[in-house]
Symmetry: C2
Subunit: 203 residues, 2 copies
C-alpha cells in the first residue's frame, strides 16, 4: 500500500477535495497542516512553492485538480469513457470559474475594490452560477455530470463548504437539487466519518 501525506494550510481550501476523495477511497493519509509561521521555511521545498502537495511514497504531486482526477481513476469516480470524462471536466472547470472570483473577493486586501467585487459577485456571479448549476444537476439526475457520482461532485460539495465559510452564507440554500447532492455525499459512510473527525477550521 502506498503511503499518502497531504500538506496544506490548516484550512479546507483546495486540499479539502483531496481529503474528501482520499476519505471516499477509504485511504489512510497523513493530514499535515502547516501553520502560517512555518510556511516560509517549507515553501522552497514544495514544487512551484505552493500547496496542496500530496506525497505518494515520497513523490511530490501538486495541483489539486490534477491530483483529484488521478485519485478518481483509482476509485471509480471518473467517467466510463472519454466522453463521460469530458462532461466531468467541463463541470469541474465551470465550478472553478465560479470559485475564483469568490476567492478573489475574499482575499482582496483593498476595501474599495473588495466592495466593488462584492457588488458583481452578489448581484450577478452568485445568482447566475446558482441557477446554472442547479439546472445542470436537474438535467443529470441530481449530479453534475453523466447522471452519476463523480469526482466533480465531491470537488463541488467539499469546496462549496469552504466558499460558504468565506461568504458567511449557504450557497446551496435555494438550490434543492444541489442541496440534496450535498446531503447524499455527506451521508456516504466514509465521508461522514471524515466530516466527524476532520479538524475544525473557520474556513
Amino acid at each position: 500500500m502506498p503511503s499518502y501525506k497531504l500538506y496544506y494550510f490548516p484550512i479546507k481550501g483546495l486540499a479539502e477535495p483531496i481529503r474528501f476523495i482520499l476519505s471516499y477511497m477509504e485511504q489512510d493519509f497523513e493530514d499535515i497542516r502547516i501553520e502560517k509561521d512555518n510556511w516560509p521555511a517549507l515553501k522552497p521545498k514544495m514544487p512551484f512553492g505552493k500547496m496542496p502537495v500530496l506525497e505518494v511514497d515520497g513523490k511530490q504531486l501538486h495541483q489539486s485538480a490534477a491530483i483529484c482526477r488521478y485519485l478518481a481513476k483509482q476509485c471509480g469516480l471518473n467517467g466510463k469513457d472519454a466522453w463521460e470524462d469530458l462532461q466531468i471536466d467541463i463541470a469541474f472547470e465551470t465550478f472553478n470559474d465560479f470559485r475564483q472570483p469568490v476567492a478573489a473577493y475574499y482575499y482582496d486586501p483593498n476595501e474599495d475594490s473588495k466592495k466593488l467585487k462584492w457588488e458583481t459577485l452578489s448581484k450577478e456571479t452568485i445568482p447566475f452560477y446558482q441557477g446554472k448549476f442547479e439546472e445542470l444537476a436537474k438535467n443529470n439526475g441530481g449530479y453534475l455530470a453523466n447522471g452519476k457520482l463523480s469526482w466533480a461532485d465531491l470537488y463541488f460539495v467539499s469546496c462549496i463548504d469552504y466558499l460558504n465559510a468565506l461568504l458567511k452564507q449557504d450557497l446551496l440554500e435555494n438550490t434543492p437539487t444541489l442541496k440534496k447532492l450535498r446531503e447524499e455525499i455527506f451521508a456516504i459512510p466514509a465521508i461522514k466519518k471524515w466530516l466527524e473527525k476532520r479538524p475544525k477550521s473557520e474556513v
Copy 2:
C-alpha cells in the same frame, strides 16, 4: 466524420490551444470568430455565457482545458496511463497558474492597480515561472511531461504566443529548452500549415 465548429473572439486567447490540437489532428474545423459587437446577442446561446465553445455534431462543448484533454485522447497527445496523464495535468494546471496573473494584469482597467500588478509580475512571477518551466522541460527530455509531446506542450506553446502578444515580449527568449520546444512544435507540418493560414490577430 463529426463536424467541428469552434466559436471564439477574433483573438488567440483560450481558443488557440484548441485550434492547435485540431490542426495537429488534421481535423477540419470551422473557425468562427465573433466580433465584439455581435457577442451580446450570442452570449445567452452559449453554455454559461462564455467562449470558446466547440460544437461537435451540434453538441456544445465548453471549457478549453476540458476540450483539449478530450481531443488529446483522440490523437495520442494524452499519457499512456493514469500516472502519465497526472504529469500532463500537473504541467497544464501549473501553466494556468502563470497565465492567470498575466491576463489579470493585462485586462485590469485601473491604471494604478495595473502598475502594482506589473511590479509583482515582472520582478517575481515571470522570472520564477520561466526558471521553473525551463527546469521542468530540461528534466523531461525537452517536454513538459513524460519525456514526450503531449497536449500540455501544445497548450503551453500556443498560449505563450498569446501571452507574448499581451506582454509585448518573448517569454521564451532566455529559456533555450522551452524555445526549442516551441520550434519543434511550430515545425510539425500540420501546425506549420495552421500558423500560415490562421487569421492575423494582435493578441
